[in-house]
Every structure is written in structure tokens, then in C-alpha cells.
Symmetry: C2
Subunit: 221 residues, 2 copies
């Protein structure tokens, strides 16, 4: 199932790298802890990183009350956000053809603030479980006071597109015999073994949801 192509999400440059199918786009969103949000404040464009959750066609953000970014996207009623994952650096003989392998997703969505208690809790659950799957069941839920001072934003994905580069370094044929080194350096995030905080019993076992996360993040693709 594809997101509808529109003027907003259609990839113009290097359109052979474009993908519009929901499965691909959701997988890229779910592989990243952080997205970047664009917003307009006093006539200027700003960008800010933030963690998020996703549940089907909804993305959730949270923040403090009266935050500049959330104020701006609530007022605009819509938002553009990006997730970008770097996969490899490609060094070519020509300066011009240096590039990277990456997975990037642009999302265009409609924004609303959640005010109902149950809806806010569901949004926060999505954010915590995006952080570490099943974590919500293994921590203390927000108190009414914490909920009150937390703003929860729901973004309904309107449309989206991915741009994926996954190819070897590529010099033009005429430059392939130049005497410069060309090749690739793969990049991926490495997640260290979980370390308990200072208030934990040193002999306590690490629970499965944390170990599962660690192993999944470090598995060889």
C-alpha cells in the first residue's frame, strides 16, 4: 500500500531512489530514536530534533506546555518531519561522486493536541514503546500531575515518501582507472550492553525486554 504522491512528497531529484510504500516508510521511522521537526516561528523556519512514537498512521510527540515548537505546529495544524539514517560513506575517485548510502523519510501530517487523559496515555505509551519495545509494561505510568504538565501531540500521516540509497561507490566509467583510492565505509549505530543505574542491586538480572532490544539493535542485518 503506497502513500499518495502529491506536490508535497513527490521525490524530484534521483527519483529512482524514491519509495512510497507504507511498509518501507514505517520501518525507517521505527528504526530511528529521533526525528527532526520543521516549524515556523515569527516568520522564520526552525528545525528541532525530538523523540517520537508511531502507531499505524499516527506519530506522537510530547513536550512541556507552552513549548515554542509544539505551539507552532499546533497553530499551523500541519507539520513536516524527517528521519534520516546514515548507512555508508562512499568515497569515489572524483570529488563530484562522493556520496552516502542512507534511508530518509519525509512525513507530512495533520497536527492536533491530545487533551483527553486516555488519549494522552496512549500517545505516551507509543513514545515509550518506540524507545524500547514493551517498555511501557515495565515502568511506572505517568501520574495525573505528570500528565497535566505534559503536552502530547498526535500527527496523522497525510502523506510521506522515502529516499533510499543502497548502492556501491560509483565513479563515471572514464574515471575508474584514476589512481585514487575508492571504496565504502559502512556505518551503523552500535548499542552498548545495558548498564543498571546506581540504585539497582548489582546482581539483579537485566529483564528480557531490555535484552531483546539490545540484541535486536546489534543483530547483523
Amino acid at each position: 500500500m503506497d502513500y499518495q504522491k502529491s506536490k508535497l512528497n513527490k521525490v524530484v531529484r534521483n527519483s529512482q531512489k524514491a519509495a512510497y510504500d507504507k511498509k518501507t516508510i514505517h520501518a525507517i521511522l521505527d528504526a530511528s530514536e529521533v526525528c527532526h521537526i520543521a516549524f515556523i516561528h515569527e516568520g522564520r523556519a526552525f528545525v528541532q530534533p525530538i523523540n517520537f512514537g508511531r502507531e499505524n498512521e499516527k506519530i506522537y510527540l510530547h513536550g512541556s506546555l507552552n513549548n515554542r515548537m509544539t505551539n507552532a505546529i499546533i497553530a499551523a495544524k500541519e507539520v513536516c518531519l524527517n528521519v534520516m539514517i546514515l548507512d555508508a560513506m562512499k568515497l569515489t575517485r572524483s570529488a563530484y561522486h562522493h556520496s552516502v548510502n542512507y534511508r530518509s523519510v519525509m512525513v507530512f501530517g495533520n497536527v492536533r493536541e491530545l487533551t483527553d487523559k486516555e488519549a494522552k496515555l496512549q500517545g505516551l505509551k507509543s513514545i515509550i514503546n518506540h524507545f524500547v519495545p514493551n517498555r511501557w509494561e515495565h515502568c511506572r505510568k505517568p501520574t495525573d500531575k505528570e500528565l497535566k504538565i505534559t503536552r502530547v501531540i498526535e500527527i496523522s500521516i497525510n502523506t510521506a515518501s522515502a529516499k533510499i540509497a543502497n548502492s556501491p561507490p560509483d565513479d563515471n566509467e572514464e574515471y575508474r582507472l584514476l589512481n585514487y583510492w575508492a571504496g565504502e565505509i559502512q556505518v551503523k549505530p552500535s548499542y552498548a550492553y545495558p548498564v543498571p543505574d546506581t540504585y539497582m542491586d548489582k546482581n539483579s538480572t537485566i529483564p528480557n525486554h531490555v535484552l531483546d532490544f539490545y540484541h535486536k539493535k546489534n543483530q547483523v542485518d
Copy 2:
């Protein structure tokens, strides 16, 4: 030496995490391959990832002619960009206190397109050497034709700020004895050993500038 605090770059939330000194801010910019650029197009805020270079107080971008993002920031004459590096995931007993260690930089700069050939080459050199230090000396420089179809943008840093979280997981005292696992998972990008492309002699040695990059990126901090 600090960047001047203004309405644009002053960190309001968690101001104890803020830094304004140039050395810290430049180091965060230089540690990332990619930045995120905000721009306004037809009244909407967009965000887009792109690689970049830095030389003192200048940041360089490049792209194709007639690109939507570069068109927008040239027209606006100014830009906001962000670099964000995730350092650790912090799991607390309370959903509310889950957070990350990170280094984030916001830059506010003045934008101009470089049109002089020498200036464009200097901008591209900065981008290639930001990608891999000293790479410019070890690859074929752009031809006049390549330069002609490449737009080079210079951003003069007007002001900037960093936000840095580098602390252990932090539950409120009253929740520190709750029976949930709390701890930290450190995250860092891992750079694989450089692999020559298919046109290289298999026995050719990897040059020092590539090995230096590999070792520097993987060194234990």
C-alpha cells in the same frame, strides 16, 4: 569565545544543558556527517537532511541547480540548521523520566550562493574534507562542467547554541526503590573497515587518510 545569546539561540528549557562556546559547538558540528535544514516553501515549513562542510565560521552546502531547499534559503537569506548526535538511552523506573544523552547544535546563519569559481571550489573542498579529512588532496577535483551544475551555498554563522545531556538515568528520589529495571544503553556510530570498490586492485593498500578516518571514528573516547 561564546556565540552571542539572542532570542533566536537562547536555550529556554533545561538551560543547564546549554552551551554557547564556539569550541564545543564546532566540535559537535564536526562530529556529524549530516545536518538538518529548515526552510519555508509556499508558506509551509520543511526539513531536509544534507551533508555539509565547516571552515571556521562558515558552513557549506551543495546541491543541484534549481533545488527547492537551496532556492528557499537563498531567497530567505538566512537559515536555521540542526545537528543532533545520540549518545545514550536512559531507562528510568518512571515513564516520565525516560530520556537520552545527546549533543545537539542549532545554527542560525546568513545565506549566500557562491558564484566565483575559486570560492565554489573552496566550499566543495570544505564539504569533502568534512566527509573524510584530507580527502580533497586524494581525489579528482571538479571539472568546469561539474562546477557549473553544482550550486554551492555559504552559511555565515550568525549565532548558535548547543544543548548537551550527559548524565546518568535520573528517577525522582521517591521512585528509586520501585521494582523496575533502570539503566543506560550507550549508543555510538560504528564505522566498518574500509572496503575498496570493485575497480580497485584487491591487493592495493588503503591510504593513510582513509585509515586515519577509520581509526579516529572508532577510537574509544
